[in-house]
């Protein structure tokens, strides 16, 4: 066997070296290879902050930094869940659907202006359970029906959206529970509670990724599913758990979004999916799976949020902002992806 694998390996080595002559490879070696590249997102973030602060000193005012943290809370919580899915090499398009289901549950079960329910924090718990259940179903659909996660979660997106619009009767319902609203309004050490919740979500995700078997197995599946399976990883169980975990984070994000807006309506999730995917990818997690992690995603979320905030501060026309953001994504990904190892970019 070893005799057969030896020549195979050397062939791939040759391929790798010929690749070094490609432009990105050359740039990469110029800057010192892999280690530099893994720091690229952080460098982008720092440069971005510096540029904006020079152009408009208001950027580093405490008030603006608090605003920045506050607007990063929901995207960060969402992106934490999404990171695990993307690490597996899958994709979760149900972000908006799950978020709107969770927001709908919390609003309808806590004090609101539509029905007589007033379950207080039980509503929050129920919302997070609902989010987790949505993710669990996504995982089951993907693994049991054996369809690509892209389509399984696309279906769950529509189901979640339809369910929440149906339950809300197509209108916006206000959240009147004062203690849940506190999540967005009350502050601890100068920061809104939502920011602390998001920080907690980040720490939890970091612990799961770096210190649990689940985290390791998710990375292993993303690296090479066949190898993971042969090494004794229960791929189906890990996949379903990962989707449920993502749903858990989306559920928390739904509660935060409902608390921030003080209501839930049909379009509460609009635009959040692509924002979350952008953050994960800009942070340097590869869509092919097996590379990156929640720390990358934290940086990615900050890049996207700082950029949006900075463009408002610099008075850039809102019409052009999307264009700038698009160019930023290309630049960040082109710089940071470890493409020398990837011969095939799909």
């Amino acid at each position: 066997m070893t005799i057969h694998t030896e020549p195979l390996k050397s062939v791939s080595d040759i391929e790798r070296t010929t690749l070094m002559t490609f432009l990105p490879g050359r740039i990469a070696t110029m800057f010192g290879g892999r280690r530099w590249r893994s720091l690229a997102p952080l460098a982008v973030l720092v440069v971005l902050c510096l540029l904006i602060a020079i152009a408009n000193p208001n950027f580093i005012e405490l008030r603006n930094l608090v605003r920045l943290a506050n607007s990063a809370a929901v995207p960060l919580t969402l992106a934490m869940g999404l990171t695990f899915i993307i690490l597996m090499g899958s994709i979760d398009l149900s972000v908006e659907g799950t978020l709107s289901v969770s927001a709908m549950v919390v609003v309808l079960l806590a004090a609101n202006d539509s029905n007589g329910n007033d379950y207080g924090w039980w509503a929050v718990l129920a919302a997070i359970v609902a989010g987790t259940a949505m993710g669990f179903v996504s995982g089951l659909v993907q693994t049991m029906l054996r369809i690509p996660s892209f389509m399984a979660t696309l279906g769950m997106w529509f189901i979640g959206l339809g369910l929440s619009v149906y339950m809300l009767g197509g209108s916006a319902i206000r959240l009147n529970d004062a203690s849940i609203r506190e999540l967005a309004l009350a502050r601890f050490l100068g920061l809104p509670l939502a920011v602390w919740v998001a920080t907690g979500a980040f720490l939890l995700a970091a612990v799961i990724q770096y210190h649990t078997k689940l985290g390791r197995h998710i990375l292993a599946i993303g690296g090479d599913e066949d190898v993971a399976k042969l090494s004794g990883v229960n791929v189906v169980r890990v996949r379903v758990t990962a989707f449920a975990l993502a749903g858990f984070f989306f559920g928390i994000a739904g509660v935060l979004a409902a608390a921030q807006l003080g209501q839930s309506h049909a379009v509460i999730g609009d635009g959040r999916l692509f924002a979350a995917v952008t953050a994960v990818v800009v942070g340097g997690t590869a869509l092919t799976g097996g590379e990156g992690g929640v720390v990358n995603t934290l940086i990615g979320v900050l890049i996207v949020t700082v950029l949006a905030n900075g463009m408002i501060l610099l008075g850039i026309s809102p019409y052009i902002q999307q264009t700038v953001q698009g160019l930023m994504i290309i630049a960040a990904v082109a710089l940071s992806l470890d493409r020398v190892r990837l011969r095939i970019v799909k």
């Binding site: 690509p148 996660s149 529509f158 959206l161 339809g162 599913e225 999307q322 290309i330 799909k346």
Partner: protein, 322 residues
Amino acid sequence: MNEAFSLRRIFEGKWTQGAIPLVLLVALLLIIEIAAPGFLTGETVALLFANTAVLFILATGVTFAILLGGIDLSIQAVASLASVILAQLLPSLGLAAFPVAILSGFAFGTLSGIVHVKLRVPSFVATLATGGVVTGIALWVSDGRAITIEEGGRENTAWINATVAGLPVVVLISAVIGIASFLALRYTRFGRQAIAVGAGEPAAWAAGINVDRTKIIAFAASGMLAAIAGVVLAARLSSGSPVLANQLLLPAIAAVIVGGTAITGGLGGVARTAVGALIISIVRIGMTFVGVNIFLENMVFGAVLIAAVAITIDRSKIAVIK
């Protein structure tokens, strides 16, 4: 035991896999006809085809990208930009506005391809980003508003809304595009190479196929077809807007997958996409016909989508389902 085995063999046979989406299409038609008699009349069917046209043209474009193993998420933005350009230029340029709008799609499709291939950015991210760039340009050009195509311009779009021998012109346009794409994929060097790249990129590369060029052509085709879809949509709605096609991206991709094209690439084609687009369209229109609660429509659609993919997808050629 023996019987089950042979049944399974039939199901895994090559021609049955290809026929499953078609069978599903017919079954859906029959279900709706039984639930709401009067669905299968010439008039409704013509309407169904006309309503599917835009979705089908978009889906045909994205079929090229998916066959390569990539994806094109910029089609909605490109289609919307084309509608804006058409609405802006019709008063001054007349019919010449059509080629300008379509060429814009070709240009941005090529740009997506170049970003994807030359900067080695995954197509998912590359097209997501170029989609953002294009949307920004469309917002800027239109000043963020919808532009109505006025009386004068409508003279030049009337031909799209006309009928020839009982068939709406949009159906004829999509038929021509569908047949041309079908022939291009099956009988041209580009088409065969695209399928080869999707089936196994290292092998295609080793066989001497210019992978980069094939990919750029495919994305250019996708952009151009998206622009044609945008132009047709603008003519039908007599308006151009930077968000005109925003609801069409995911249904278009769903149409491709439901038709049985593998999202991993290398397997499928335009004929499958035509069936897929009809399935998506029939489910949408059928729900209105059968009288599904309007708030529940999305839920039913999502469930049907999952069921349809579970039935139609050809798993025998996908090693790992991600």
